[in-house]
Symmetry: C2
């Protein structure tokens, strides 16, 4: 077949009109054929597709967004990139979305609700096809912004109480249960004074705190003095500081459960430096199973969290919502895994 190669536009870009002309249908039919909308004669679909291939046609995202009022962007709000946890989620989301022809517009909130609101306002201007946000802790204005936008939204990382999850989509796991499982393990190992050490103090950290609290209370081992909370960012150095402090001020503590692996790694290094034997003198546990935890000395006992799976599953769920497909399980629990190594 001989396609007309005449380009009608000054820009030199191959447009839908060119494809339509070459395949002798209207632009509308070409548009529908290319998008795989049904109710188009298969013969025409084939003709249009061939012409598009021949001409090297690629749809213009801006024109499409303007006309349809939906871009091919997905806006994603993450608290912080310095926690490798979120980098893993981001990469998984990106891979899945990219394969489906969507672009990820990432925003970093720094755990700040005002910043989140600001970012979301900005991103909503781009009429994203979908939204991925982290957790549920946000201000009312942001919540309204999401709801009113009508843009499908998936919530990352956390589970929601079974009540009041109407129209809420989420992929995550129970931080409270993960924390309880680790605390239970520490008790079973014979520890009696189990401290909980946390930084950043974001909502998910507080849920882990709660899991530890409840488990200790049930075991009659709870003591507020065992809570070592610090709002500064989580880091290896910070974990070291907290370890030095606890081991000096509370020599009776026989185990420390850190809310994140970077803190626990810092604790392990500081224990080495101070000549304190782990787990003999004090047991150390972490959360997330980040890079390097299996290489520490001793290797770190931790809770492995499914961040890559969370990224993939949330992106897939969002894709379904965007297409208007039914989502069987709106709130997906991907669980966690207790990884017992040598530090406990």
């Amino acid at each position: 077949m001989t396609a007309q190669l005449t380009k009608s536009r000054a820009t030199g870009r191959v447009t839908l009109a060119d494809v339509a002309k070459a395949s002798q249908v209207s632009p509308m039919t070409a548009s529908r054929a290319l998008r795989g909308e049904r109710a188009v004669d298969p013969v025409l679909v084939a003709r249009v597709r061939d012409a598009a291939d021949l001409l090297g046609y690629v749809p213009d995202p801006a024109a499409r967004a303007l006309a349809s009022r939906h871009s091919s962007h997905v806006a994603m709000l993450l608290p912080m990139l310095s926690n490798t946890l979120f980098v893993d989620v981001l990469e998984a989301v990106q891979n899945t979305l990219q394969a489906a022809g969507f672009q990820t517009l990432m925003g970093v909130t720094h755990y700040d609700c005002d910043e989140e609101e600001q970012l979301l306002r900005e991103q909503l201007l781009h009429r994203p096809a979908g939204l991925i946000v982290t957790g549920y802790a946000r201000n009312e204005a942001t919540r309204q912004l999401i709801a009113k936008s009508g843009v499908p939204c998936v919530h990352l990382m956390e589970l929601l109480d079974s009540n009041g999850n109407d129209g809420i989509y989420s992929v995550g796991f129970s931080h409270e249960q993960g924390s309880a499982a680790m605390t239970q393990h520490l008790i079973q190992q014979g520890n009696r004074r189990i401290a909980f050490a946390a930084a950043q103090l974001d909502p998910r950290t507080m849920q882990r705190l709660e899991g530890w609290r409840q488990t200790l209370k049930t075991a009659n081992m709870y003591d507020p003095k065992l809570e070592c909370l610090d709002a500064s960012p989580s880091s290896i150095a910070q974990g070291g500081k907290m370890f030095a402090q606890i081991s000096e001020q509370q020599p009776d503590v026989d185990a420390i459960f850190y809310c994140n692996d970077d803190l626990a790694q810092g604790a392990l290094l500081t224990a080495l430096r101070l000549g304190i034997r782990v787990p003999e003198q004090i047991a150390i546990a972490g959360f997330n199973d980040l890079n390097g935890s299996d290489q520490m000395l001793p290797t770190l006992t931790t809770v492995r969290t499914p961040r890559t799976q969370i990224g993939t599953a949330s992106a897939e769920m969002l894709l379904a919502l965007i297409k208007g497909q039914p989502v069987a399980t709106p709130c997906v629990d991907l669980g966690f895994e207790l990884i017992v190594r040598n530090s406990t």
Copy 2:
């Protein structure tokens, strides 16, 4: 002043036409006033701005992109997010661009030229206002794609030879010099069998290899057996493996220079495990000064690289290029810093 609040569009969105009507000028004048284009009466500018504020007008990026043939996106190509190096650059770029009203469209190439080409093709469809790419190692098709697109482009991380940098913009530092400085330091410490251990073997790693090579050759200490190269990804575990291998097979090696800190951290941990004293029996050095290197036991001697500054400076340079402003220094060298700690 009383602005007319009548909205003309079915979408309910406040448009430029609304602002124009409210401020009693033509849409064109409103457009120019809002964009800060000169050649508009200051009185009208003020009137238009007020009306825009009052109505809560925000320009539609899609319409703007379609009409102007340039979006407010900046496409950024990074090799890999698992190296925290690039996450730091990404965050800095994002912060700077966001403040200027641009969105970052990130793509991960996995050090694969074909993937890079594919990603760039996809991103170019969105008519980005600017491009940020990593290094210079790419295939000819990709190079052509960048050149033909006419989109301003800044190259990250590396310096370019003084010859042939016509029209090339870059922000980075010399990996070869950074590596040479560290090698020099190791020689000065009295080491005579200095191994170079590297993973991933990307272009910048090879430049560091070259810096080490030249320095050892000059000092008459070069021996090909001292090169320990492995193309698998860089990680703490990989560094540990390489350390065990070198210390077993080449007991005369008295220092190991790792091309990246994660490898060196793994080496330090493995040395502890094997009971090999650092730096007494063997000195260990790294590159980049990543998180945790100052917390290791012993603390890690390394080369600090200015990744946040690279991100900020490259974004600022790109912004200038986008605005058509002259760029005084097209190839910026941000240098590096030798950080001597206790592992050497």
